[in-house]
Symmetry: C2
Subunit: 568 residues, 2 copies
């Protein structure tokens, strides 16, 4: 049996609920979206007391299966106005499972002038303690204060000063294995939702003793080994093991979809200065605290994370991922990994989504606030974000709002969420996915890029996007890392076997996919109920009118086509 | 026959078109909304080349009928994302009629980096002249430079520096009879639309010789006199003649709907310091350039405008209207007419809507950016708007965006447009109107306040709002000043007679109202096509949850009720 800890943030009370049996397969995004859809009025103010925040662990969380402990956080998004699930690595999912928790729910809200609280969840009790001492501090300092008080092995969740101000592009930071809140559920503004409930941090103590039960433990152990073997045999996950997601720089540059100069271009001259090899060599050469092949959770056989060190070998930022390298690098015409890592660090400290704020800085540069390629100016802009100046607040409100306030028409977003690191005119498959997700432009659940024969053509891309929407969503539904999908995309039986050995439930791939599709349907229905229409699933008009020079392409996907890709 | 001058802003060409006979009754908002609906794709970027801007004169424009020369400006709104008509007094409507123009259309757009142009329309030709010398200048300076070049009697239309930056709460300023561009079509961001077409000013020269033709000129003259007589007999218009719209301060204070402290209250202690009598006495006492009973156009028998002088009797701002006195006065807890007039002047110079930016400053004060009641701080904030600082741009983006960027949930707007000067929880009739207009919260077309037996009750307010939506829209449809409606609300035959004597068209009140209702239907259809849904016609959640202290009321109008008030 699994439990939900339901916490009322107005009355500062908590109560345990148990799931009924037929829902016990729910985990990750499947669970969070089910709960958002069931419990949150679609038209409510995302920053009001009717919104809820659900922290959900995965179906195989707490077991020895590689990469199975992602934490899914769900609620209504203040950024898009629609449903949101954003997930993070780190150790919080494991700690929740050790406390027997499949879900923690934050609901209601105290008055806006109420004091900040920390929720401390242990095996004995759930406590609300004063969190005023954390207010206004950066995430790194908050993180240090939390581990000092609650131990380095506690699962901590916190938000940055930008979220405290209810800004829309703010995320939720979760503990990594070193006790640093650096694993972000970054997208969609869920940090502001947590802040609206006056919860500045949540701590799951390391005193949980609950171990997962198995129907057939030996078979499960063998099945878990099989997953490791599959990951180690797969060329994509092994590429990520060595280089991390930075491997995408060269791939995207070659495909002419590397976002450059506020998504005006798909190729950056000098991209090799920020590619995977340069990063790898830099980390190895500087040594010190630098790490490649670094795990964000245990166990993980991929270990795509890294620790990027400064010139003296001291940790500058961990991790530095491709999406950030593109949005805060090539998109700003920056060709300097140290600058990118610095921007990333400040963003993490400020508590913002590196994608949406990177895109916002691109917009600001197009508005003439700073020059493209100017690392000093870019860092100064991120310092404004951290300092919460008016300009900083504009940027921390995300790309769409920044574009509105700075008078820029070419704003890379769909549904108010910044486009990730694949220029959509150059990859019509990725474009179709951006136009299809209920979450706003997103790449994790319908990643077509590696499978497009002619990326610039929209032919067949409805079907291709839908295929990968399902493949990606399977991982979200299980609460597994998205990168496992490469190993099981043609045959997910090894994962279904694990469900069988763990729960005694025999579920076929078709049945599992039906569940995934049902989740997509309820997510889209939530958006419809929230007042989001087909007209909102669009790029800005500039993408349709202006040619991306390297591919000679404009956006040519019609409303009718993208509607098909959202129909389940 | 009437003509439209259709101007392509990309090719810098103009051509004359004539209306076909059956449409010749169209004028004002009826014409502009018909054209927007027919020619602008509802989902287009309001700041892109597919949007158009229509400048329409009224059905009786150019005649001797009092208050008949309002200029209706229509297009898709960058503020609301829906259809927009905003109208202004001044002399431009007259000048258009003298050139035989019922409509001037600006369409297409040059590239964003194209130079600024001034369009000069004379009886001989239409010219595009370089407007670079106006760029970045305030509206008062632009206005002076335009009259210097084109004569004090030319009908000039220009925008402020905020509009040049494409900000969403910017208006279009039109010449008053003294050659000052101080008559604003302020609402909905049409200034930014004009800027997006790189037109910094438009001038209709005073060389037009076309006089209106009449079927029965003598009868028309007699009918025009009848209108004057009705206006002079009506208690509301005569009240406005003496005191101007400032008369509303005491009325709204008494009804507890005077927006105070960011719409948290409906009563301001000390409101008498900014009421009509104080304003009247101040103007009379300072004398000099100060004026009460001042006309924004000729002829006008109401003359509700004023010239507010500074302490030395020099013009500080003209006009200072109730809506501004509330949004930039009581709403900010300012009890100082000089401060309000100063804010108004800076807003006019910057080119912004005083309502939306007043509401945005209220939001900024709630966010703690400045203290309520601090006149110096309020003026400093308006100076930031004029100086286009980041904070100034936030404010010039209007109340909704300011609330988002500054993290304030209580944002007084509907459909993204700031609520005008009547607190909606205290007047459910006005609230119903705000929730019903296709234009975003607006008071000019469904003004119930004077006719609500129990303002705090929603009973019967669907019907009441709809009644006044029609009464108000009749004036918009004719291009007449809204204040004429008091004199003809129970019997519009005197206006219909004028149509008969002017055009020989016999139209009944029922037929006229059918035309008005058809306009409302096409406006709402445009919004639906643009992706605006029933869920968008709402106040922020705070209005439904938090009691307005003076009335003890929350917002209690349901989606179903407001939907009825939008159904025609």
């Amino acid at each position: 049996m699994f439990s939900m800890l339901r916490i009322n943030t107005a009355s500062c009370t908590a109560q345990m609920e148990t799931f009924d049996a037929k829902e016990f397969l729910l985990g990750g995004r499947t669970l969070s979206s089910y709960l958002v859809s069931s419990e949150v009025p679609a038209t409510c103010d995302a920053l009001g007391k009717k919104n809820k925040l659900f922290f959900c662990s995965g179906v195989l969380s707490g077991t020895a299966v590689s990469s199975s402990d992602r934490l899914s956080i769900g609620g209504k998004s203040p950024l898009t106005g629609g449903i949101k699930e954003s997930n993070a690595g780190g150790i919080v999912g494991t700690r929740m499972s050790q406390q027997g928790l499949r879900c923690i729910t934050l609901e209601d809200a105290p008055p806006g002038d109420a004091g900040w609280k920390i929720i401390v969840i242990g095996s004995e009790k759930t406590e609300f303690v004063d969190g005023g001492f954390l207010a206004g501090k950066g995430v790194y300092e908050k993180s240090a204060l939390l581990t000092q008080q609650f131990g380095v092995k506690a699962g901590c969740i916190t938000i940055g000063p930008t979220a405290e101000k209810l800004l829309s592009a703010t995320g939720i930071a979760c503990s990594d294995p070193h006790g640093v809140c650096s694993r972000y559920a970054g997208r969609g503004g869920l940090g502001a939702v947590m802040a609206s409930k006056k919860i500045i941090a949540m701590v799951i103590l390391n005193d949980g003793k609950i171990k997962p039960a198995f129907v057939d433990e030996d078979a499960f152990k063998a099945g878990a080994k099989k997953i490791v073997q599959l990951l180690k045999e797969n060329p994509v996950s092994t590429l990520f093991t060595k280089y991390g997601t930075a491997a995408m720089v060269d791939i995207c540059q070659a495909l002419k979809v590397l976002p450059t100069q506020n998504f005006r271009h798909g190729v950056m001259e000098g991209a090799e200065k920020i590619n995977a090899q340069t990063m790898y060599d830099t980390i190895k050469q500087r040594d010190g605290e630098g790490r490649t092949q670094h795990a964000c959770m245990h166990p993980c056989a991929i270990q795509c994370s890294n620790v990027y060190p400064d010139k003296d070998g001291r940790l500058l930022c961990s991790p530095v991922e491709y999406e950030t390298m593109a949005l805060m690098g090539s998109n700003l015409c920056l060709k300097d990994l140290d600058a990118i890592a610095t921007l990333n660090r400040i963003a993490n400290d400020a508590g913002v989504d590196t994608l949406d704020v990177g895109a916002a800085i691109g917009v600001a540069m197009e508005a003439g606030i700073a020059e493209f390629g100017d690392t000093t100016a870019a860092i100064a802009l991120m310092e404004e974000v951290r300092a919460l100046t008016p300009l900083g607040r504009i940027l921390a409100s995300g790309c769409k709002t920044a574009a509105r306030v700075l008078g820029v028409r070419h704003a890379p977003h769909v549904l108010g969420q910044a486009i990730p690191a694949y220029e959509p005119r150059g990859s019509k498959g990725m474009a179709m996915t951006y136009l299809s997700t209920p979450m706003g432009a997103d790449h994790t659940f319908g990643f077509t890029l590696r499978d497009e024969e002619v990326p610039t053509s929209k032919e067949g891309k409805v079907a291709l996007s839908k295929k990968f929407q399902v493949i990606g969503s399977r991982m979200d539904a299980m609460g597994m890392c998205n990168f496992v999908r490469y190993s099981v995309r043609n045959n997910m039986q090894p994962l279904l076997d694990l469900i069988q050995f763990r729960y005694g439930v025999d579920i076929t791939e078709v049945e599992f996919d039906d569940m995934v599709k049902k989740t997509l349907r309820i997510e889209h229905q939530f958006n419809t109920d929230a007042g989001i229409t087909a007209q909102d699933y669009r790029f800005t008009e500039t993408f349709y009118e202006e040619v991306q020079p390297e591919t000679g392409e404009v956006m040519d996907i019609t409303d009718e086509e993208s509607a098909l890709a959202r129909k389940w």
